[in-house]
């Protein structure tokens, strides 16, 4: 990792972003328009919003689009003719991503790149994408990255890390890919400046008040598969699935066919385990027919199932969007830590 890094003024940052755009890259950053703050491709640096707070949606849609074509087909007299969709060609910078969202991209990599089948559309986009993360200037009441091993200045999935430093910014390349975005002319930062900036972020970190999720949570939750907590929590769930849509690490999708008499396409679009139709068989049988079974699947897929290695204790990155946006006030951190704590109590009783 580049230790010293650089110190950039707000003007330097704008020049940097404008240069990245001028060099032909698509720069995607938080933008505040009439609606909520969201990631959008920038026309120029002035459009970016680097204020405290997070976007409504994570930037995952720029690697894993809400809907995309898997192949096109045309129906000809002698049978269908198939065409692959074009692969992405333009280099991309995800700029101003919060560390929790950057960590979410690593969870997507595990699904789309690390298994026996690599997804070519995702792989190409990932290859062309550089992540510039912005350490958090404040913590929301929903934030709990520190409870799941993250940090407001975490570097998982990050190529360039930016820390606020008064009215200026400190910038450090975490990977070679990130270093390629830096300019020769930038002013070097001092170690003392980094430690001051890091202290500032640590104060933000201390304001994250949520209890850590225990390292053995996976085993505990699997043991408590039949716990009444799933029924109690899901009683409020309206199966709207906003939790999955705003989640930086949710990667489940549906595959559909759209066509007419001449041709059509096979598409992939976001889907969610909290929808009743997600698992319903054509026969009508549904292995997760009730909202309790579905909510349990969501919680266990985040905290128990299919974790890539022993180091990784959760798929959840603690952004808290699912908590902030749930219309029924369901809080996955609270459910999971309470269930795990209940298990300790159970041991003491026995």
């Amino acid at each position: 990792m580049e230790q010293r890094g650089w110190r950039l003024s707000a003007e330097d940052v704008r020049t940097w972003v404008d240069r990245l755009i001028a060099e032909g890259r698509e720069v995607i950053a938080p933008v505040e328009g009439r609606g909520p703050r969201v990631f959008r491709p920038l026309g120029c640096a002035a459009e970016a919003c680097l204020d405290p707070g997070k976007t409504r949606w994570s930037p995952k849609e720029f690697l894993f689009p809400r809907t995309e074509t898997l192949y096109h087909y045309r129906l000809r007299a002698d049978g269908p003719e198939l065409h692959d969709p074009p692969l992405a060609e333009r280099e991309r910078v995800l700029f101003g991503v919060r560390p929790c969202d950057a960590a979410g991209l690593v969870r997507l990599d595990e699904v789309f790149l690390d298994g026996p089948v690599q997804d070519p559309l995702y792989a190409r986009r990932r290859e062309l994408t550089t992540v510039v993360a912005l350490a958090c200037q404040e913590a929301g009441p929903e934030c709990f990255c520190t409870a799941v091993g993250g940090s407001p200045m975490g570097t998982e999935g990050v190529d360039v890390l930016v820390l606020p430093f008064g009215a200026d910014w400190l910038v450090r390349a975490v990977t070679d890919k990130g270093r390629a975005l830096a300019a020769e002319s930038w002013t070097r930062a001092h170690a003392g400046q980094w430690s001051l900036a890091a202290d500032q972020v640590r104060r933000v970190e201390q304001r994250i008040a949520r209890a850590p999720v225990a390292g053995d949570v996976a085993a505990v939750l699997e043991r408590r598969f039949e716990d009444p907590v799933w029924q109690e929590t899901a009683r409020r769930c309206v199966s709207c699935s906003i939790c999955a849509y705003v989640c930086p690490s949710c990667s489940c999708f549906d595959v559909h066919h759209e066509g007419d008499a001449w041709g059509g396409r096979e598409i992939r679009c976001w889907d969610a385990c909290t929808f009743p139709l997600f698992t319903r068989h054509a026969s009508g049988h549904n292995p997760r027919g009730g909202s309790a079974a579905r909510y349990r699947q969501r919680a266990l897929h985040k905290f128990a199932y299919l974790l890539p290695d022993a180091e990784r204790t959760t798929r959840c990155v603690g952004c808290g969007r699912c908590i902030a946006l749930c219309p029924a006030g369901i809080d996955i951190h609270d459910t999971v830590t309470r269930t795990a704590a209940g298990a300790e109590g159970e041991g003491a009783d026995a």
Partner: protein
């Protein structure tokens, strides 16, 4: 992040032409399918009994069924012929049923694990199929019958709700004619016709009546969840151990290779870690199916 070279589009199907159609029951049909491009067929190579494919009806969507026949033992240069047996239930299977001979559909696969045929050598085998569940067993049965001498006695118990719902009626006499193969046909009480000469009863009770000792016998069962539930109960009573009972799990699937996220039972992806599973392994899975 791994280095990314040129990757094949895993969703793009190969094209198969419907060569033969056979109606098994009023709503179950078996298709014989040949590759439109023989090269593509040769590239597919083969598959193992128990694996499944994703079949595309262009304009309607994809559906998932077991590959119902065994791949040729040696490729001999011939592109393989794929067979599938399906019931018209939903939108895609209804559209598939609407296609005639000569129509072109898509196929991708094979996906999933396979029946452990090598482990079955020298053992007596019992194939228990309920309704269209028999389709998932047929490839394994075909492979076993092709190498008849490698295995002990073979029982085929083919059950259905009614006589009209029995699949593979045309093939059963040929299976029964082989040395050491016994075919038992059974229908649910009330499903028999006046001239029915098979068994009447649910598969678990018919199997119990046959009184086959568990010694070394492998039971391979496929059918609706309710049949498996009572079958496992009956097998337990008869002294069968969970390790000698094999079944297949079915769940709604989309991608076929562990990415779309819907077919899991705990950390077990039916598409990738299944569909073939022993009763023993099933007992270790969360009760989520």
């Amino acid at each position: 992040m791994p280095e990314v070279g040129p990757l094949r589009n895993p969703y793009r199907p190969g094209l198969l032409r419907i060569e033969t159609l056979r109606d098994e029951t009023p709503d179950v049909r078996t298709l014989g399918l040949c590759f439109v491009d023989e090269q593509e067929g040769r590239r597919l190579g083969g598959w193992e009994p128990g694996q499944f494919g994703e079949y595309t009806v262009f304009g309607a969507g994809e559906c998932v069924f077991a590959i119902a026949n065994a791949a040729p033992d040696d490729d001999g240069g011939e592109p393989p012929r794929v067979e599938c047996t399906f019931r018209a239930v939903g939108k895609v299977t209804t559209a598939l049923r609407g296609l005639g001979a000569g129509s072109v559909i898509g196929f991708r696969g094979p996906y999933g694990n396979a029946f452990p045929l090598a482990e079955w050598r020298g053992h007596d085998l019992a194939f228990l199929g309920g309704g269209i569940g028999m389709a998932a067993l047929r490839a394994a049965l075909c492979a076993v019958l092709r190498h008849r001498s490698d295995y002990g006695e073979v029982l085929v118990l083919n059950g259905a709700r009614s006589v009209a719902d029995l699949v593979y009626q045309e093939e059963m006499p040929a299976w029964a004619g082989l040395d050491g193969v016994r075919v038992v046909r059974a229908v649910d009480p009330g499903g028999e016709t006046a001239d029915w000469d098979g068994e009447v009863g649910l598969i678990p009770e018919v199997f119990e009546r046959l009184g086959l000792a568990p010694d070394g016998r492998i039971v391979v069962a496929c059918g609706p969840p309710v049949m498996l539930h009572f079958l496992f109960e009956a097998l337990g009573k008869l002294g069968y151990s969970p390790g000698q009972v094999i079944t297949t799990l079915e769940n709604k699937m989309k991608c076929g290779f562990g990415q779309c996220g819907r077919c899991n039972v705990g950390s077990f992806y039916v598409c990738r870690d299944g569909p073939v599973v022993s009763w023993e392994r099933m007992q270790a899975l969360p009760a989520d199916f």
